[in-house]
């Protein structure tokens, strides 16, 4: 189908702005997907009106076939921002896309009235309008997904930060109790947090306790070794504690040599070793 001039749509949008807005808002409010709990009617009306104005402007100036052009930037920006705020408010993709798709009905009705009895003209106009709105709808969904992914990525990072607490056990002794599976990304953050903690607290000894780590593969073992080496370059010593019997067996089978790294069976053993290094002794008070 050849490109149909879309002048009519922008004319209609201008001429019937008020009516279309009313119908469109009504359409959106009646849609079962509208989240009344998250969005007020006033906000919806404001957003809808703003979009109609931007759309009209873009249609007057730009090519409706190519939404990537500069004339469409305001429309794209508006939809990106809308999708983003919807995504952050936990709207679903279809709830978000309904914003665009529910404009079809009111617009088609006006197009019908405007083209009169000319069926071909109506078909052409409806085709143009539906193509345009589909494109805008898809753009909205894509922006939505992108925003969602950003949220997920950020949450993953936050989770990583939370799951690697560096705690101070004693003046000069840090501990990092690790719980759960260690993958490459997490290990990198663990490493950076621990080393930064060493600098911040000027601690010469750090204990990495892996009691809560279900399995250690070659890669994780290598990451642990690198952390030990990096700490040594900074002037601190890392002790690894909580290596369970199965993990010790796996490591030997994998041929992972912990080299001259100090390893202890439990966190308590590691701490008492650290005290010995620092020449700290305790005596029980006799009464």
């Amino acid at each position: 189908m050849t490109a149909i001039p879309i002048s009519k749509i922008s004319e209609i949008l201008t001429a019937y702005e008020k009516d279309i807005l009313e119908d469109w808002v009504k359409e959106q409010l009646s849609a079962i997907t509208l989240r009344r709990d998250l969005l007020s009617e006033a906000d919806l009306r404001r957003e809808s009106l703003e979009f109609l104005k931007l759309l009209t402007q873009a249609l007057e100036r730009g090519n409706p076939q190519d939404l990537a052009t500069a004339e469409w930037t305001p429309v794209r920006d508006f939809l990106s921002a809308l999708s983003r705020s919807r995504a952050l408010q936990n709207f679903s993709p279809s709830e978000t896309a309904t914003f665009i798709f529910s404009l079809k009905q009111p617009l088609f009705t006006r197009l019908n009235t405007a083209t009169g009895k000319d069926a071909n003209a109506l078909l052409a106009e409806v085709w143009s309008a539906t193509t345009l709105l589909d494109k805008l709808g898809l753009f909205t969904i894509e922006s939505f997904v992108r925003s969602r992914n950003e949220v997920i990525k950020r949450q993953q990072l936050e989770l990583l930060e939370l799951s690697t607490p560096v705690v101070k056990l004693w003046e000069g002794i840090l501990a990092l109790p690790l719980i759960g599976t260690l993958d490459s990304a997490r290990t990198q953050i663990v490493m950076e947090n621990l080393l930064q903690g060493i600098v911040d607290t000027a601690s010469e000894i750090a204990i990495i306790d892996i009691t809560g780590v279900p399995a250690v593969d070659t890669l994780v073992a290598q990451h642990l070794l690198k952390t030990v080496t990096a700490a040594r370059l900074m002037g601190a010593q890392v002790i690894i504690s909580g290596i369970r019997p199965q993990i010790a067996q796996t490591m030997v089978h994998l041929g992972v040599a912990m080299g001259d790294v100090v390893t202890k069976a439990s966190l308590a053993d590691a701490l008492s070793y650290a005290f010995k290094l620092m020449a700290i002794t305790f005596t029980r008070k006799t009464t």
Binding site: R146, N149, E150, L157, Q188
Partner: protein
């Protein structure tokens, strides 16, 4: 992938290496790379620039900012018209050196980046491309 920004610098003296390191740092800060990412990339760049100087008799580096599906990347292409490398596999081995260094320039910088590619022809020169991506 088309770079969103690109610039080329000459590498003729060790001062050029320092200037290039500073440029790489500035770009990475602007592109919001983390400190460890910055340090790894700047170090890799320093190794490769020194190689271009020591073995290639000087060369150039082209810096390109990339964007792909929400992540950002920095690509550096080091080129020299030096004697080239006859045995790439050997040159990529830890500890192998013909210049009296530690032999970590190529193999080490490969470990510091996400993507590494090397092309070399004897008598024509060497081109090393590295990329580091944000998460």
């Amino acid at each position: 992938m088309n770079p969103t920004r690109s610039e080329t610098f000459q590498l003729q003296t060790s001062d050029d290496v320092i200037r290039m390191r500073q440029m790489v740092r500035v770009w990475m800060v602007e592109m919001k790379f983390g400190l460890v990412d910055q340090t790894k990339m700047v170090t890799a760049a320093s190794e490769l620039a020194r190689n271009a100087l020591a073995y290639g008799g000087g060369g150039s580096v082209c810096m390109e900012a990339l964007a792909d599906d929400g992540r950002r990347g920095l690509r550096l292409v080091f080129e020299d018209q030096g004697p080239g490398i006859a045995d790439l596999e050997l040159a990529l081995t830890d500890g192998y050196t013909t210049g009296g260094g530690l032999g970590l320039g190529l193999s080490g910088s490969k470990r510091l980046v996400n993507e590494f590619a090397i092309w070399s022809a004897v008598g024509e020169g060497t081109r090393v491309t590295i990329v580091r991506w944000t998460i």
